[in-house]
């Protein structure tokens, strides 16, 4: 290739990439760096780690970090457990029904978070559909149950938002499993259960991992569900929201969002490692 052609190819690459790269560096990276740097500064502009020191030695704030991670982990575990059989049906059993199933999976993704939380409120309010069934229609209970603002409902609502992502990522890995390996195991006399647990499941472990990290990352940042449905959880995003809204301690909010960011970056790093391993 002549040298001028090579140079112009380089130029063209740069021109194609530059707009989006510059845009994200300026309007995505710089705000995040600016925000984190504020948590390392004192009022008069000198560097300090004091905020992190007091944050990480305070039982209340440590508890919030733990609660954020534990809640996200619980939501992730439940989502993956529910998603696997559904993904299995979608890929292996659905046949001609797979189109409608994908549609039913994507349709909830198109609804706003507001609509879904409103739906949970309508279902589980004192005079909601569930209490109506339990008390009037079935007569199991004498008085309506208090179901709103319970941890269980908040977790169910989070799972509802996140489980489609888990189904789609597990399904895409299941699709790639070489069926001959399963047939081989069956032919050699393994039961269907044993084939599943010793062949299929290990082969889809990476897909479970990718789906789990994806769900975990979104769960970690979500707060609208917890704001509207309560449940008594205290998580980092919820506290950032409250700091911004009422307390207005922006330095504390910057500290908390930096911690949340570090967790997100760790997840991203894990996800990249998994993807690279799948590629290899």
């Amino acid at each position: 290739m002549p040298k001028t052609a090579h140079v112009s190819a380089r130029m063209r690459q740069a021109l194609l990439l530059a707009p989006s790269l510059i845009f994200l560096v300026v309007f995505f990276v710089m705000p995040l760096v600016d925000n984190s740097s504020r948590s390392f500064m004192t009022e008069d502009g000198s560097l300090t780690l004091a905020r992190y020191g007091s944050f990480l030695s305070d039982r209340f704030y440590l508890g919030i970090i733990v609660e954020t991670v534990v809640l996200s982990a619980a939501v992730t575990a439940i989502s993956v457990l529910i998603a696997y059989p559904v993904a299995y049906v979608l890929v292996r059993k659905a046949g001609r029904l797979s189109g409608p199933i994908i549609f039913l999976l994507i349709a909830p993704l198109l609804t706003s978070i507001i609509m879904r939380t409103y739906g949970w409120q309508v279902l589980f309010a004192r005079r909601g559909l569930v209490n109506q069934w339990l008390v009037t229609d079935l007569g199991i209970l004498d008085a309506p149950l208090r179901l709103l603002n319970t941890p269980g409902l908040a977790i169910a609502a989070l799972v509802h938002v996140l489980v489609p992502f888990a189904v789609l990522s597990i399904a895409s890995v299941l699709q790639g499993v070489d069926r001959r390996l399963e047939e081989g195991a069956l032919m050699l006399g393994a039961s269907r259960f044993r084939t599943f647990f010793e062949v299929t499941l290990p082969l889809t472990m990476d897909g479970i991992g990718t789906g789990a990290i994806l769900v975990f990352m979104i769960a970690n940042g979500s707060f609208v569900t917890l704001v509207l449905l309560g449940g008594g959880f205290q998580t980092l995003p919820l506290l950032i929201y409250q700091q911004f809204n009422t307390t207005r301690d922006f330095a504390l909010a910057s500290t908390m969002s930096t911690i949340l960011l570090v967790i997100a970056l760790a997840c991203l790093w894990l996800q990249l490692r998994l993807v690279r391993r799948q590629g290899a």
Binding site: S20, P31, A107, T111, M115, L123, G221, A264
Partner: protein, 263 residues
Amino acid sequence: MRLTDIALWIFTAAFFIFMILPIAVVVVISFTSAGYASFPVPGWSFKWFARIFEYQPFIDSLWVSLQLAVVATVASCLLGIPAALHLSRARSGWATAITTFLLSPLSMPMIVIGFASLFFLSWLGFGISFAALCIVHTVICLPYVIRTVTAVYRSVPPAYEEAALILGASRLTTFREVTLPLIRPGIAAGCLFSFLTSFDNLPVSYFFGSAQTNTLPVVMLAYMEHQFDPSIAALSSLQLLLAVIALVVAERLYGIEKMTVAT
């Protein structure tokens, strides 16, 4: 059918009831004649749909949200499609790193993006303005366009474009006549997801709320904190209807499998 298969299908059916029920009740409630969301529904009416158009903040914020979603989607296409075209053909380690970077806004907590951008954009002089909203929404929409266009363009063999070039077409003609028609499904899926992401976004828009820049979800959230009347249900149902129409049209044109690459 074996027993395990029956169990799997029952589980799947229960799963979809779980997925659909909270959405379906909202659609049902939006047609109630009662002044509050409760069961049993005493009678049917369209009055909550009418209420949407009487409550001025709904209409104003709907207009803001629509304009915002269009601007963010167009900007994402202009910034993202060129990058996606280059990155899907590049094989170097650098290209992988750049792709990861361009997709990374998807992995960052939205509330952190919103909170950080508010301060940074104020410092730049944008303040709480429609322009600031457009910038932040483009940050969160751009990855969707890059992802879908990259996925589609990767499956297009380079031979088509090479053939056009060898036969004497200019680069521009090749792009317009060969590349663009081939990546159109990716662009459509990217636009669909970008538009819906922007239109539904609450965690980022929340920080940029003012009388002039409140988006529809921000107004709905504020409304819900004070009232429980079914106008939120009617509004949600309308939104869902529009989204489903968009999905069905996109599916008819390009196939649903192409849509799943975006998620």
